[in-house]
């Protein structure tokens, strides 16, 4: 008798959980579909507006604000010299570059010194944000817009804060050391800052995958797809994330994530808000959320923008170990940031952020991973226990796979309708193929890494997992 009661209770629980999974499925996919629709329309119009954007005027104008590019680097000896060269060749009228070597144990600093003939100088360091100690400043008076700072290891947030302390321009751009900037990317990123009457405190561009591209003299000269399936799936994933994720939230004025790999910030606002913090492992998202909070609390009208045409090429993890480390960190950072700012949830004070972006990030992005993971266990279990008829089970699995493919293919179509960065016909077909297949295997792998990130959050893990770069793009 007792056994039957327990069985009923278990089946009841399974039913409830299956309902949650179905609700999550429709909520998440419905949300993504809305974002895709909004982004598609917006990108098509934006692409036409580019015809009269006036980049030349911005380049020649005396009122274009100076910008400092801050590149934090830790053990990036394979890529750092080329990345700095790429930044120095950026087409921008008033540009300074600050590379912050975060106590690298490899040859990063020496390679920079040799490549740019830098000399050590004893300069004044005026920390407006508290940081680890600075070891030395390296300059070449013949390249006055390049400053390399060597400091004690303190993490990426600390390196960025050192860069902000050394920055003398009203805006700064954070750029990962493994990134290659397109020549006019910064001009494009600064365009809304110049034209918008409101104070834009953060402006983010698109990050694309460098693997498979050909790099010459610090510039991507030929765009192509990487060789391995793992990297190709990431290409589709990035297209989806940036072209319709970020664009959609930008249209809704609900930007909560700006990729720190390539973003421009207003220096004084960031300093007033306290700079980058150590509290999470995704310092970029944490800063954006804090800036929203700071603006509401200080009654400042600020704006954050995502723009899809300034491109920064980054090296994606080429093996599962690095991919796992990257995704665990991203999701740990997401949970930490959302947890730290939980009072924003459905808070009237935070407007769209509190009512749209935050709940979406929490219920769809953050809780989505564990819910989906449990779904992979519970739904087959329900089938085995006879709770779900096999036909429905099969149909639901098919629908889940098809919907995922629909969204991925949608992002490839969006790319094709707008920027068409992959010029070869073959590449387009490959991308479409990978978009169709992304939900079989790769998605589950990433969900597993995200669940590991969730577990780390629950267990209080704080470490910044490193992803090693081998210098993609040659």
């Amino acid at each position: 008798m007792m056994a039957v009661e327990w069985r009923d209770f278990f089946i009841h629980l399974m039913n409830i959980f299956n309902m949650i999974i179905v609700a999550y499925f429709f909520l998440a996919n419905g949300g993504y579909t809305i974002l895709m629709g909004l982004s598609l329309g917006s990108l098509l119009i934006y692409n036409r507006r580019l015809a009269y954007q006036g980049l030349e005027e911005l380049r020649d104008s005396v009122v274009t604000p100076p910008v400092t590019v801050i590149m934090p680097a830790y053990n990036e000896q394979e890529v750092i010299v080329e990345s700095v060269r790429s930044v120095l060749r950026t087409d921008y009228p008033y540009l300074e570059v600050v590379v912050v070597d975060d106590g690298s144990s490899d040859d990063s600093l020496n390679r920079l010194i040799a490549a740019y003939q830098l000399v050590k100088m004893d300069l004044i360091y005026r920390p407006r944000l508290v940081t680890e100690a600075v070891r030395g400043f390296y300059l070449n008076p013949a390249i006055p817009n390049l400053l390399v700072i060597s400091k004690e290891n303190g993490g990426k947030f600390d390196a960025l804060n050192v860069g902000i302390n050394a920055c003398r321009t009203p805006y700064f751009c954070t750029l990962d050391a493994d990134c290659i900037l397109e020549r006019d990317a910064l001009l494009r990123l600064m365009r809304p800052i110049k034209r918008d009457p409101l104070n834009i405190v953060a402006s983010g561009g698109i990050v694309r995958i460098l693997n498979g591209c050909e790099v010459k003299d610090g510039q991507v000269v030929s765009v192509g797809l990487p060789d391995t399936a793992l990297e190709r799936f990431q290409v589709v994933e990035y297209l989806r994330g940036f072209l319709f994720g970020r664009t959609g939230w930008d249209i809704l004025h609900g930007t909560l994530i700006v990729s720190g790999a390539f973003a421009v910030f207003h220096r004084e606002t960031v300093i007033e808000a306290g700079g980058f913090h150590e509290t999470t492992v995704s310092e970029d998202m944490e800063l954006i959320v804090r800036l929203h909070r700071w603006a509401r609390e200080n009654e400042r009208r600020i704006k954050m923008k995502f723009i899809s045409d300034p491109v920064c090429w980054t090296e994606a993890p080429a093996n599962r170990k690095n991919l796992a480390a990257q995704r665990r960190r991203w999701h740990l950072g997401l949970y930490q940031t959302l947890w730290l700012n939980s009072d924003m949830l459905f808070s009237r004070k935070f407007g769209r952020i509190g009512w749209l972006s935050y709940p979406f990030q929490l219920y769809v992005e953050a809780f989505g991973a564990p819910v989906e993971f449990l779904g992979y266990i519970m739904i087959p279990l329900a089938l085995l226990l006879g709770i779900v008829p096999p036909s429905l089970f099969l149909l639901f699995v098919l629908l889940a796979l098809a919907y995922g493919s629909f969204l991925s293919v949608g992002s490839v179509l969006m790319e094709e309708l707008t920027y068409r960065r992959y010029p070869r016909y073959r590449d387009l077909l490959i991308l479409l193929g990978y978009a169709l297949l992304e939900n079989v295997g790769y998605r589950q792998l990433v969900v597993w890494y995200r669940v590991q990130g969730f577990w780390r959050f629950l267990t209080g893990f704080q470490k910044w997992e490193m992803v090693t770069h081998g210098g993609a793009g040659g």
Partner: protein, 490 residues
């Protein structure tokens, strides 16, 4: 009674959704492939047309082809080809500025200017479905903005009244392109409209499509002689209007100065009214931002009243006024004011101190001598650090070392001693490690080999172990032994 949801209902629903999703997915795949093929064909056509249009346009503009024949061929192409494609190609490769009037005339002859002007004025020239689409979704602004951009690209001066009218357009994009265009054309008669815009964006900062930066960029393009139009705004009661207008004039002056060596402001290029306003009103304005922006303009004036005004601004209670003034005085004509500028080396604000060091350096030998003297005599640690900082950044340490090696009057030796005392020796030691001149190393060893500075000690140890010159190496070893002895006795 509600109808119970049966498993069959759920299955039907899932099947319907699945079919819709699958159809959409494969529809997207087909759309992507078709789009790629269409675009490939489009670019092929564009390239073909480009190869035909470019030589004709280039030849007509440069006057290197038979004008009648070439024009007839171009006209023929404009009729046969896709109009949007043809228009794009005509303005795609712009000739040198002196040939732009020829291109403008060519566009006029081809009827393009009239077409663009009509579009900018809101008259649609397309028919059929696309026109309906544009009207329904209100995408007409895309055409208007592109038309404005094309007119400006070929510098069609006669279109300025239309651009002024476009400043009132319903869409911010058109307003922005028109504003930029007016700046590019810099037609004096259009300036009042821009001045009005300037006041509007300052007083109503949330005007979409018109930011202060965009308006400022447009006005700054006008010749300096037209700055007189801004005089009434400089008397505005709103302090922010005065501040930002002063800043616009400052930018105009700086731009003019950048293009002319030895530039000065006189009644020839700057109205008497503006001159008086800057000297008598703006330099004493209650808003410190106005005073700060007025200083650089006054610094260019050839007027005997300018110097006393600047000296007063050098002592302004607001640090950023002092900062702008010090920076503005980095001009040879202020050579007689060097002591006053040097006083700012002791300013409580580091940015002012930094600006003072840079300004003094700009005076060459005389300024550098003053900096040396100040560096050696000042008790102010912060000022000395600032000077050392600037010497390093400006790359002056190599010349200091060279002068020291040449055995000048000993001042350089004292400067190095002071730098060593402050622990600012990284650059010096780096240079010593790289120099081929054993004489410099010997002299430095003799003078500073016993210095307690860590970097110098490390350098002495390095020489003691690796120096190629036996005499220098022996001296380094002796110095190292002395240092070790001194350490032990301590």
């Amino acid at each position: 009674m509600p109808i119970p949801i049966l498993i069959e209902h759920v299955i039907t629903f899932v099947i319907v959704v699945l079919v819709v999703v699958l159809v959409l997915t494969f529809g997207f795949v087909a759309a992507a492939i078709l789009r790629r093929r269409r675009r490939d064909r489009y670019f092929e056509r564009l390239d073909d047309l480009r190869q035909q249009v470019f030589p004709l346009v280039g030849g007509l503009v440069e006057g290197t082809v038979d004008a009648d024949k070439a024009f007839a061929a171009l006209r023929d192409l404009s009729i046969k080809s896709d109009p949007a494609m043809f228009e794009q190609l005509v303005v795609e490769r712009l000739p040198a500025p002196d040939k732009l009037p020829a291109l403008s005339k060519l566009c006029d002859d081809l009827g393009l200017i009239k077409r663009w002007q009509q579009r900018l004025g809101g008259l649609a020239d397309s028919r059929g479905l696309s026109a309906l689409f544009v009207r329904v979704f209100r995408f007409g602004y895309l055409q208007r903005a592109r038309a404005a951009q094309s007119l400006v690209a070929i510098r069609h001066r006669g279109s300025w009244p239309l651009l002024v009218k476009a400043l009132q357009d319903a869409h911010p994009d058109v307003r922005e392109v028109a504003l930029r265009g007016l700046g590019t054309l810099a037609e004096p008669e259009s300036l009042p409209a821009l001045v009005e815009c300037l006041q509007r964006v300052i007083l109503q900062p949330a005007t979409p499509g018109l930011s202060f930066r965009t308006v400022k960029a447009a006005i700054v393009n006008f010749p300096l002689s037209s700055a007189a139009e801004l005089a009434p705004v400089l008397k505005h009661q709103h302090r922010r209007v005065r501040f930002l207008t002063t800043d616009v004039i400052r930018e105009m002056v700086e731009k003019a100065a950048a293009s002319e060596y030895g530039f000065t402001l006189s009644e020839k290029n700057f109205s008497a009214e503006l001159m008086e306003l800057f000297l008598n009103n703006l330099s004493y304005d209650e808003n410190p931002d106005v005073r700060a922006r007025a200083a650089p303009v006054i610094a260019y004036m050839r007027d005997i009243r300018a110097v006393p005004v600047l000296l007063a601004l050098l002592e302004d209670p607001e640090w950023f006024v002092r900062l702008h003034t010090v920076r503005a005085m980095a001009k040879p004509k202020f050579e007689t004011q060097l002591p006053e500028i040097a006083r700012r080396l002791a300013d409580p604000r580091w940015m002012v101190r930094e600006a003072a060091v840079r300004t003094l350096q700009a005076f060459g030998a005389e300024g550098t001598a003053l900096l040396y003297d100040y560096f050696l005599s000042s008790e102010d640690r912060y000022s000395r650090e600032q000077i050392a900082d600037e010497w390093q950044r400006a790359g002056l340490i190599p010349s200091l070392l060279a002068q020291y090696a040449a055995g000048r009057d000993g001042r350089e030796r004292r400067v190095i001693e002071q730098l060593a005392h402050m622990g600012k020796t990284s650059y010096l030691v780096g240079l010593l490690l790289g120099t081929q001149d054993a004489g410099v190393r010997r002299k430095f060893l003799e003078d500073f080999g016993r210095h307690a500075d860590g970097q110098i000690q490390a350098w002495v140890s390095h020489l003691a172990a690796h120096e190629a010159d036996p005499e220098v190496r022996a001296l380094a070893q002796a110095r190292r032994a002395e240092l070790a002895q001194a350490k032990r006795s301590r």
